[in-house]
């Protein structure tokens, strides 16, 4: 019947995690860009918005990523933009995950009327095209920062997470250890967060990864269509500017390519990590 189980669950995850190529590659790329975002801005003396040098210069030893039409340092913009990309991912993805988790857990655990209402809310928010709401909200806020942008992205991104977590909670709440906790007189709230949530840790992590990537892409789209932060620098804004100033047509590929490529790389790395982690957490998918 059942095979022998390895002794330690955790170390097993670690073992597979370290040996999973997808996870390693994804994490590698992510860490690279994360470090870049942290350290990068310190390596340049130029502010992303000052006119640092001659305009439209190709990459050189002075301006590593070249300069914009106005002679701004593209490297500096890139490094700062990368930073806000991670901020948007963290905050937007974090909020998206958090709201999704709370609503999903609540709906899944309480069931009944609470579930009906929350489920309906989830469905409604799920169906309404996120971007359209974001556009209206973005337009409504006359002055926008990266933080507000992240918050709104997070607040519209949670439904699918809530739905998935609700389903997970449904299956977990009928498990006997939950009954056992109830028979120990534990409060519902405590049961949800100390019994059910920890069991979904791996799943929550996957949700967060996807939310993280989604937030970055959403922000990039918003930025690109000119509804991004009115202050600060982001990769989406860089692309927006590059297009507005016809960078590619004027041969300034260094202005448009890096921000888009970085977003693709980061989000791609997150997706790859997601599949890698899935394989780690789910023994069925492991390659022996």
């Amino acid at each position: 019947m059942a095979q022998e189980r390895p002794k330690e669950v955790r170390s097993e995850f670690l073992y597979f995690a370290l040996r999973n190529r997808k996870l390693r590659v994804g994490l590698g790329i992510l860490v690279f860009f994360l470090l870049f975002a942290i350290i990068g801005p310190f390596l340049t003396e130029y502010d992303p918005n000052t006119y640092a040098g001659p305009s439209a210069q190709p990459p050189s030893s002075e301006f590593w990523f070249g300069t914009t039409t106005f002679g701004q340092d593209v490297y500096s913009q890139f490094a700062h933009g990368l930073r806000s990309t991670f901020i948007v991912g963290l905050i937007g993805g974090g909020i998206g995950t958090l709201v999704g988790v709370v609503i999903g857990l609540l709906a899944g655990y309480r069931g009944g009327m609470v579930d009906e209402i929350l489920n309906m809310l989830t469905n409604i928010v799920l169906i309404i095209p996120t971007l359209s709401v974001l556009i209206i909200i973005a337009a409504y806020l006359a002055v926008r920062g990266i933080l507000t942008e992240s918050v709104f992205i997070g607040l519209t991104a949670w439904p699918w997470a809530a739905r998935a977590i609700r389903a997970q909670t449904f299956s977990l709440r009928t498990r006997e250890f939950v009954d056992l906790a109830r028979m120990s007189g534990r409060s519902s709230l405590r049961i949800v967060f100390t019994e059910i949530a920890p069991n979904m840790m791996s799943y929550l992590f996957l949700v967060f990864i996807l939310q993280f990537g989604g937030a970055i892409l959403n922000a990039a789209t918003l930025d690109f269509i000119g509804l991004g932060p009115t202050r600060g620098m982001s990769l989406g804004l860089m692309m927006n500017n590059a297009v507005l100033w016809a960078a590619l047509q004027l041969g300034m590929w260094w202005w448009l390519i890096p921000p888009g490529a970085a977003i693709a790389a980061i989000v791609g790395a997150l997706y790859v990590m997601n599949v890698g982690l899935d394989e780690v957490f789910n023994p069925k998918l492991r390659e022996m």
Partner: protein, 604 residues
């Protein structure tokens, strides 16, 4: 595979839907075009299926309705249309499609800003026949495109429309008393109050509409209808339009052929709805666009780089100047209520940096009066020499210091004379990147002289709200400083009065000075004669430069770039080239752009 069959069906359906959709524009009512000479051509397309009928009235070779526009007969333009063409109603100045006034509906006169001349157009002449009576003699033999003659009844009707709510020239009737047709080709205007400048402006900007077609329409339809298909007297006829283009076709029976010996070159004009800069430049470089009136950053490089791109001038500023960008300061707020402070701001802005870095030299630094180069003769050099300003941070600092602005708390920024902190914002709409970059320069300049000024980029709505509602600190704007026949329009905008809660357009800084307001009125009532106008204008300039209610910064260009792959003999500063405005924007066709078309020649 079930999937692929399904796909085929989906594919066919979508294509069918699209073809139907694309053909929609053609589903207009039967368009009957009778030219005076020969045939009647009826193109009728019903429910997307083109049925081409050629009904011949007089024996003449039938001409097939063309489905493609031969490249050497078509002029591709872009720059005016910011959205799909939706209106062909010349009474809707903000909405009408590119060329409705000018190509289709014409004005009594044209105005040539380069020569400062009025060119009789539908009118043969116009004269003051009394103190307050202006008489227009109409050109005979002018026909509407449906074959009806154009007469004084049309002129009277058109001006009478201005009495309706919702017609933009309604204010005309504040001082116009009556319009009468003396005979079929003579119209007399009687005024309650003569405003020469404004009248001159009106004469070449109000387009005539055909009474016989319009008089049956409801008031609602007149004001809010889309007037499709438009019937005019002009050189072009409505051909078709779709979401991304407006197409005009040459009116072979245009009156100017006989009357003036003029004929327009392009058989078709396809105006492309403005795509992004990126796409516009791409189309332009691919030769798919002949004339671009878009603001195309980096165009200087292309002009210099031998891409076959031409502009008015071969060298900076490349473009003619079209309007003046002003730095408005809210004079109802401290410290902008202090002329010294405003003056210091004027000295603090490095306009050259904006011109070179932000615009790549395609704009020009302003004359301190802000008057456009076409109005150069009105600049009073003595006043400018005495009161003019230029970029001079030291001077700015000393003005501030003299006026009592000092950095008391040592944060690097000055405080007001009463010791209060100064924290100001300068705004432009988010997404208007050239302006966004420009106010960064303005803010840097201000900061360099100790004024704590930060750039801010609200959305257009927020920007406009602040500007018209008077809640902003500083802002850039140019909406009423456009080239026209008279500097009066410029001053009317700059010193718009009375000061109300909402300043719809002009005097956003709410500069309140009855003296200058009276001067603007006086200018309006001055006959169109530079020598008579100059003293009044000089007086205005003196006040303007003394009080500095708004700082003129740079002249935005009359963005125009073209390539000569298919069309040649473009107007430009070059010797021997025609001297007409190469511009498709509203209000420019009747400022000689139509004449540009008569000069264009296809490349053989």
């Amino acid at each position: 595979m079930r999937g692929s069959k399904f796909l085929t069906v989906v594919g066919l359906l979508t294509i069918a839907a699209l073809v139907l959709a694309a053909c929609q524009p053609a589903t207009v009512e039967v368009t009957r075009i009778v030219t005076e000479e020969k045939e009647v051509e009826v193109t009728r397309i019903v429910a997307g299926t083109p049925v081409v009928e050629v009904v011949t009235a007089t024996p003449a070779p039938a001409e097939e309705a063309e489905v493609t526009y031969p490249r050497n007969e078509t002029l591709y333009t872009s720059g005016k249309q910011w959205g799909p063409p939706t209106s062909w109603n010349p009474l809707q100045p903000g909405s009408y499609a590119m060329g409705v006034i000018g190509l289709c509906n014409e004005t009594l006169f044209l105005y040539d800003p380069l020569k400062n001349e009025y060119i009789p157009w539908l009118a043969e002449s116009g004269d003051w026949v009394g103190d307050n009576v202006y008489e227009v003699k109409l050109r005979q033999g002018v026909q509407w495109s449906d074959g009806e003659p154009f007469t004084s009844a049309d002129v009277v009707y058109t001006f009478e429309l201005g009495k309706l709510d919702g017609v933009y020239y309604k204010p005309l009737w504040d001082w116009l008393d009556k319009v009468e047709a003396v005979d079929e080709y003579t119209v007399q205007f009687t005024f309650k109050e003569v405003r020469y400048q404004e009248w001159g402006n009106t004469l070449y900007s109000v387009a005539m509409v055909p009474k016989h077609l319009w008089e049956g329409r409801s008031e609602e339809d007149i004001v809010n209808g889309d007037n499709l298909p438009p019937v005019g007297t002009g050189a072009y006829l409505y051909e078709t339009h779709s979401e991304d283009r407006m197409v005009w076709k040459r009116n072979e029976g245009w009156w100017a052929k006989d009357a003036l010996g003029l004929s327009v070159g392009p058989k078709y004009i396809v105006d492309i709805v403005n795509p992004s800069n990126n796409v516009a430049l791409g189309l332009f470089l691919k030769g798919e666009m002949d004339l671009s009136n878009n603001f195309l950053p980096g165009i200087a490089t292309l002009v210099e780089g031998g891409y076959g791109v031409q502009t008015w001038y071969d060298d900076p500023p490349y473009m003619l100047s079209a309007n003046t960008a002003f730095l408005f300061m809210n004079t109802t707020k401290k410290p902008m209520d202090d002329p010294a402070f405003r003056k210091a701001m004027a000295y603090a802005v490095d306009v050259d940096e904006i011109v070179t870095k932000v615009y790549g030299n395609i704009v020009q630094k302003c004359n301190p009066t802000g008057l456009l180069p076409v109005w150069e003769q009105y600049v009073d050099q003595d006043v400018v020499d005495e009161l003019g300003f230029t970029y001079d941070p030291d001077k700015a600092r000393s003005i501030l210091a003299e006026a009592g602005y000092q950095d008391v708390d040592g944060d690097g920024f000055v405080e007001a004379p009463d010791g209060s902190k100064i924290e100001l914002k300068i705004i432009v709409p988010f997404g208007w990147t050239d302006w966004m970059e420009s106010i960064k320069v303005v803010a840097n300049g201000a900061q360099a002289v100790g004024i704590n000024l930060q750039p801010d980029f609200p959305d257009f709505g927020g920007y406009w709200d602040q500007l018209t509602g008077g809640t902003f600190d500083m802002a850039i704007n140019n909406f009423g400083s456009n080239m026209s026949d008279t500097p009066w329009t410029f001053y009317f905008w700059l010193f718009r009065n009375p000061i109300t809660d909402v300043m719809s357009n002009g005097n956003f800084g709410r500069y309140d000075n009855p003296e200058v307001f009276d001067l603007v009125v006086e200018l309006d009532k001055t006959p169109i004669d530079p020598e008579a106008m100059k003293p009044v204008i000089a007086e205005i300039q003196r006040i303007q430069l003394t009080d500095m209610p708004a700082v003129p910064l740079w002249y935005n260009g009359l963005w125009a770039q073209w390539n000569s792959t298919y069309w040649t003999n473009w107007p430009s500063a070059q010797e021997g080239a025609p001297k007409y405005l190469p511009c498709t924007w509203n209000g420019y066709w009747n400022m000689t752009a139509i004449l540009m078309l008569t000069e264009l020649e296809p490349v053989q």
